[in-house]
């Protein structure tokens, strides 16, 4: 029973964070049609912004807000200076630019923060107090707060996309950018804002990862960025609901494999599952079978 409860709790907590990472990446792809390979590093920037804030005020919520604002602004700047000039030059240059940006961020953070030595949030911000037990599995304050923060952000994003003019414009640009332009939507501005929003979500995920992870280094985003990309491909590139479903399936597969088979098979089984789905549904679980966006 304890193991089953551990699987469920682990899936909810880890799946929530994975979902946040993947939604950000998918949002960027949907509006800008760019696979942002530095998304994992944006997450790390968010984690470090949170670290700086918690050094002065050990408050997780302030760290979240700071990371969202900081990474959102960084995303806007990166889109304007790096990805906008590369728009329309094919898929490869933005991919390479993302990779290079990721390396620059990693090395920049390493040079800035204690030679890349691990740092951790002060204990006041990590909320490690155990609140209650679920079938023998202790649930910490942090786990509850993480799920709550992700839920609030997901609901907020849903409202933004479905109940506001900006959201309508983003959806229009994601669906038919040419038509949106003809209808007077400032496509370039919407793409920039979408990029900023996707980066802000990565920043939010970064702070949560720092809490779960116990420590941060400039390099924790390498694997996580890859996981986010895999989830997006699995759920369907550009599909926000696909990102959420994909995130929870991946988290569930990882937890079940770790507990009932062996941790060493965790990645092998999870990623084989993704490959199998992609073979039968190349556009992912919730992706549309559209080769090129008009």
């Amino acid at each position: 029973m304890i193991l089953l409860a551990a699987v469920i709790v682990g899936t909810i907590v880890l799946g929530s964070i994975y979902a946040l990472m993947a939604i950000g990446l998918n949002l960027i792809y949907a509006v800008a049609e760019v696979v942002q390979l530095a998304q994992g590093d944006m997450l790390v920037v968010g984690a470090y912004v949170g670290y700086l804030i918690t050094r002065f005020v050990p408050n997780l919520f302030l760290a979240e807000i700071g990371a969202i604002v900081g990474c959102g602004l960084l995303g806007v700047v990166v889109q304007l200076l790096l990805f906008r000039p590369l728009a329309g030059r094919g898929h490869l240059p933005p991919l390479v630019a993302g990779l290079m940006l990721g390396t620059a961020i990693e090395e920049g953070l390493r040079a800035t923060f204690f030679q890349g030595n691990p740092v951790r949030y002060p204990s006041g911000a990590t909320l490690s107090t155990s609140l209650f037990n679920v079938a023998g599995v202790p649930i910490s304050e942090a786990q509850v707060v993480i799920v709550a923060i992700v839920a609030v952000l997901a609901i907020g994003l849903n409202l933004l996309l479905n109940r506001t003019k900006l959201g309508l414009a983003m959806r229009a640009v994601a669906e038919r950018p040419a038509c949106a332009r003809m209808l007077g939507v400032p496509v370039a501005t919407v793409v920039t804002l979408g990029f900023g929003l996707g980066s802000a979500l990565a920043g939010a995920a970064g702070v949560l990862i720092a809490v779960v992870f116990s420590y941060i280094t400039p390099f924790i985003g390498i694997d996580l960025g890859f996981v986010a990309l895999a989830i997006c491909l699995f759920g369907g590139l550009g599909s926000l609901s696909g990102a959420v479903i994909g995130a929870f399936i991946l988290a569930f597969t990882e937890q079940v494999t770790t507990i009932y088979i062996a941790s060493s098979y965790k990645d092998a089984i999870a990623f084989t599952l993704i490959i199998v789905v992609m073979v039968f549904r190349p556009s992912g679980l919730m992706g549309r079978l559209v080769a090129e966006r008009p």
């Binding site: 304890i2 193991l3 409860a5 551990a6 699987v7 709790v9 682990g10 907590v13 880890l14 964070i17 090395e107 390493r110 204690f114 030679q115 890349g116 030595n117 691990p118 740092v119 951790r120 204990s123 490690s128 155990s130 023998g136 599995v137 202790p138 910490s140 990862i209 779960v212 992870f213 116990s214 420590y215 280094t217 390099f219 924790i220 390498i222 694997d223 996580l224 990882e254 937890q255 770790t258 507990i259 062996a262 941790s263 060493s264 965790k266 990645d267």
Partner: protein, 403 residues
């Protein structure tokens, strides 16, 4: 527009001509000064021409924190060597080369260095050494590393490579047997990072040691580097209810595992591998490290005068980052190479020869009673340092030497 127009446009004015004359005058004066001073400087520098020693170190990439800390210690050691007359009257100068934490890059650097230098220091990571050492053997190029935790790497690369690190094969078994006796654990769970060679090897040695004492290994749980969450593994450990846990992982990840175990209420003795115990482990685990044991060759809290002096000097250079074990072994690697060069009467200046390199490795292999930073030791026939380590206990984040 005609060509004449261009000529008129670019004809130098009187003012420009004067300026040119001034520039020519300064250049001539500079050239004369250089001619006069140059040979004098060359003559003065002749007897004290520095011996360049390349240092293969992970300055960037995931191993960067190790690399930068090691270089800090190596620079301190080089200053020490030079303050005592250098090597045969020549100061030594370290040339740090970045392996980028990449074995292939480490191998490329060895190939380049073998064409230019007498010997090299490094690499500081076992994974890099696995690729770099065979190249050194092939090119007959002496290398002295400071971070090889697996004796098999040294054995496979005789006679051209050496290490100032006591391998896990020597320390892990005895320390784990001590831990079993102290804790009385009869059942254990092993948590190991198979992606890191050093961790995996130490973990397997520790498992072998406990098995020898009749301890039952209930399960071996493998984890990955930089894993975001250990809740599943911790729940698994909890369900097995072991009397002890041994962890073989990189320092921050081992710290995160210990923290996750404590947070989940798993309160049994934990033994961590030697490579897991660095200041990073303590940074991450903090007070969650309630009942942890480990073994090492150095700890910055040691009260020996030499250790205290080194730690104080290191902290001034590292902006407060305390030295780990590899800082001490890096320091020793510089002293050892300089000492061997003196004994072999080689400098490599003017192009190193095969005879010089052979003389150097013979001197390294014949090292007996070498005065390292903390202890005197030999270099064994398999190229690595011999000696004993310390058994440490960490209680509520505080490290103490076990009696």
């Amino acid at each position: 527009m005609s060509n004449a127009g261009y000529r008129i446009h670019f004809r130098p004015s009187m003012k420009t001509s004067i300026y040119r004359l001034q520039v020519l005058g300064y250049a001539a004066a500079f050239a004369l000064t250089a001619i006069a001073v140059g040979p004098a400087n060359a003559r003065a520098a002749g007897p004290a021409e520095p011996i360049q020693i390349p240092v293969l170190s992970s300055q960037t990439g995931p191993g960067a924190s190790y690399g930068e800390n090691n270089v800090t210690a190596m620079e301190m050691a080089a200053a020490e060597v030079n303050a005592h007359g250098g090597v045969l009257g020549h100061p030594i100068a370290l040339e740090v080369q970045d392996t980028q934490s990449s074995p292939s890059q480490a191998a490329i650097l060895v190939r380049q260095d073998a064409a230019k230098y007498l010997a090299a220091l490094g690499p500081n990571l076992s994974n890099d050494a696995k690729a770099a050492f065979p190249v050194a053997v092939q090119l007959k190029f002496p290398m002295v590393s400071s971070g090889i935790s697996d004796a098999r790497i040294m054995v496979a690369n005789r006679p051209w490579t050496f290490s100032t690190f006591i391998p896990a094969q020597v320390l892990a078994a005895s320390a784990t047997e001590t831990w079993v006796k102290r804790t009385g654990a009869k059942t254990i769970v092993a948590i190991v990072n198979n992606q890191d060679d050093a961790s995996a090897i130490q973990e397997s040695l520790m498992q072998a040691a406990v098995a020898k004492d009749g301890v039952k290994v209930l399960k071996v749980i493998t984890v990955a580097s930089r894993q975001p969450d250990y809740s599943a593994e911790v729940s698994l450990v909890k369900s097995l209810a072991p009397q002890g846990i041994i962890v073989g992982d990189l320092p921050p990840d081992a710290g995160a595992i210990v923290k996750a175990l404590t947070t989940a209420g798993v309160d049994v003795p934990v033994m961590i591998s030697m490579n897991a115990f660095t200041p990073d482990f303590l940074t991450v685990a903090g007070k969650s490290a309630r009942n942890v044991s480990t073994f090492t060759e150095f700890w910055s809290g040691l009260q020996e005068p030499a250790a205290k002096k080194f730690t104080a000097a290191y902290l001034r250079k590292s902006h407060g980052v305390p030295p780990g074990l590899s800082a001490v072994t890096s320091y020793d690697s510089v002293l050892l190479l300089a000492d061997a060069m003196r004994r072999a009467h080689v400098t490599g200046l003017g192009g190193s020869t095969t005879q010089e390199r052979e003389a150097l490795i013979h001197a390294l292999a014949a090292t007996k009673g070498f005065h390292g930073l903390l202890q005197s030791y030999d270099i064994g026939s398999e190229g690595y340092r011999t000696g004993a380590g310390f058994y440490l206990r960490i209680t509520n984040g505080v490290v103490s030497l076990a009696k």
